[in-house]
Symmetry: C2
Subunit: 409 residues, 2 copies
């Protein structure tokens, strides 16, 4: 069992800082800088939204040239620098250039990430202040860095894993992330940066991040909106001297990365806008994993299902209906639905639906489960296949409406 720590002590060769640069009207921390003392190999996964923000286009272009030589990432809140055209691309480049002025790196070694309002030009005066302040404060205050990338998040998201190899060598994996609206299947309005002092090849960073992303950031739904800015980066600086040479080494790294990204992704859902419930949706019995994921995502996105969760109403028909319109194959007469309190399925969850009709479960039992803070639903699509998938979501509350009715002000 990989232990994921809810904090980051330090990661050899990496330094970070977060500051309040005046980007946010409320004066909270709003700018973060991540710096590596030596060159990193780097992989990135990005939003599939056609309307990609300038920092996404900038980062994709940089990594297309090469996955090596990355030294720093600057992250701002307030403006997403999305739908900002050529000016936005220029502002992203200017940000990288200013970081290169402040640190012993070239502009080509700097990535930028932005989150906030779409269509608002990057407030460049604040960006400059943020770089000036953070480059002087670089150190190991990871919580401050995690805090400085928050938008509507209510708490900072950071975690780490310590790995000891079979040969006794040690390295660290650590990451920060932010949500917490526009969280859709297939990435989200989320930013995540994961760093490690393990020594990876470019191909290893790319493959391991893509696999971890598919089972973590691609499996969370807050509101079903896919943002213009979603990005996760993995940086490896090799300071530990530990290379991943054997299949065992690689599998150990992947297990640690999977656990870390799952934690960072789940925390985004736990802190989803207005969320009062943490809900795990498991689907099985599909012909393949893609079909299962489609059904699970449809349930997780359903406003009717999500408001019933908020109301603690065991209106399970809405989950079955959402799977039914997902486009995934279901055998109505063989579909089954179970529910339980908690984050993992117990041996005997409450059986709600089978053979195309409700079981004779007691309404009081269902009501008691729905009152829990964490719920797990299991839908069997009845197709008898090996396909299964798990996604995590939250409920839709009054606060979600309040937060998003009034976000820009």
């Amino acid at each position: 069992m990989t232990e994921v720590l809810p904090y980051i002590d330090s990661v050899p060769g990496f330094q970070v800082a977060g500051t309040a640069a005046g980007l946010r009207p409320d004066g909270k921390a709003d700018f973060a800088l991540i710096y590596s003392e030596s060159d990193c190999v780097c992989a990135g996964v990005f939003t599939r939204n056609v309307m990609k923000a300038a920092p996404v286009l900038h980062g994709m272009a940089r990594l297309e040239q090469s996955n090596e030589g990355i030294r720093a990432i600057a992250i701002n809140t307030r403006s997403a620098n999305a739908c900002t055209g050529r000016r936005g691309l220029g502002d992203a480049e200017q940000t990288a250039a200013w970081v290169a002025d402040a640190l012993p790196v070239t502009a080509d070694a700097v990535l930028v990430m932005s989150t906030g309002v779409i269509g608002l030009p990057l407030p460049m005066e604040g960006i400059r202040k943020g770089i000036e302040a953070t480059h002087k404060q670089l150190g190991q205050d990871w919580e401050m860095a995690a805090r400085a990338i928050m938008t509507t998040d209510t708490w900072p998201k950071l975690a780490s894993v310590q790995v000891t190899t079979a040969g006794g060598a040690r390295y660290t994996l650590a990451g920060i992330s932010k949500g917490s609206g526009m969280i859709a299947p297939d990435m989200a309005t989320m930013l995540a940066v994961i760093v490690t002092d393990a020594a990876l090849t470019a191909a290893q960073t790319i493959r391991s991040l893509e696999r971890a992303n598919e089972l973590s950031f691609n499996r969370i739904v807050v509101d079903g909106d896919m943002s213009t800015n979603d990005t996760a980066y993995l940086l490896a600086n090799g300071h530990s001297g530990v290379a991943l040479e054997s299949a065992t080494d690689l599998e150990q790294f992947q297990t640690a990365l999977d656990a870390l990204t799952r934690k960072l992704a789940q925390d985004i859902v736990r802190d989803g806008e207005g969320a009062t419930k943490f809900v795990t949706i498991q689907v099985r019995g599909s012909q393949n994993a893609a079909e299962a994921k489609r059904a699970a995502n449809s349930i997780a996105r359903s406003p009717l299902f999500k408001t019933a969760l908020f109301g603690e109403d065991a209106n399970w028909g809405r989950a079955v209906a959402a799977a039914g319109y997902s486009g995934a194959e279901l055998q109505p007469e063989r579909t089954q639905l179970f529910v339980a309190a908690g984050e993992t399925l117990p041996k005997e969850p409450l059986h709600l639906f089978e053979n195309g009709m409700p079981t004779d479960y007691a309404e009081a039992d269902a009501a008691a489960i729905m009152a829990a803070d964490s719920l797990v639903f299991l839908l069997d699509c009845g197709c008898g296949g090996p396909g299964e998938a798990t996604v995590w979501t939250c409920d839709f509350s009054h606060d979600y409406v309040s937060i998003n009715g009034d976000y820009r002000s």
Copy 2:
């Protein structure tokens, strides 16, 4: 211009009734009966949800045999008779049999429609009471019939059109509908029944209903959930003696049917659960209509966009982002967005976004528009194609969450 009347005087050869049969805990009207004095040709369009409710399966099977010989439709609220397995199918058949006992028709001539909670067996005692009461009250109280099919609707939806042909003959088209949650692109949790005393062939009813449905009930979004029960029926009993023989006759009928179904569909959105805004989304410049509809539906479904509407916040980036993740083709650098108050686009709507970046519009102008009860957005996808589409939607409010957090009780 076809005038759509917001009431129904009478339709020759048709009789209706609505009653409170005790299905609803609040004692409101909950059961409706529609009866034709002679055989009707009938077309139906149904939900594409895989988990189809028993009345949907029953009706589809009946019309597969023949589109002729329909005499009555019984409609109940409270239970959707969905996810109820074989028992549900038996209950639908029993309902039709009871109607045949009460009226001079065979069970084979009776269609049934249900709306309400999924997974709740049909309360058969109430169904019998409903049939007993309504068959004695058959007449022209269309408003009572429309009222008796309401669930979370706050007002009854009914409308009619009087048509005078070039030769001076007259016939009537009339319809009732209900919403008002689970309203998704491609039908909705909606039921609609349209009747006419024109004399149509079976092929004419099918073709005209399918075309009208595509431009009305398939173009409305309340919450993006597609129900298990969505059904619209068109019944023609020929009492006027007016047959549709020429292309002109057919086009005149289609125009009237299109206007009637558009009104019934728009009214579902106007009365959407918790809705405070009526919002028209127009998309143009796509390669084809399907692409345009996909982009429009994605905007209409976006919780972030809908909460911004509720908050009267001109956070237009959320509309562009939702189109961006729709899967429809967009040219980011050529995409444009406009907004105006009202239900149709004026000559000079406010230009918000072009060339990949915001225009220099005045925030006060945008704010003034967002404060209106009705809004129209126009998105040009920038692909230069002839494809366009219009969908209608509403905002997401606190009341939507309240209504759906507590629906079953």
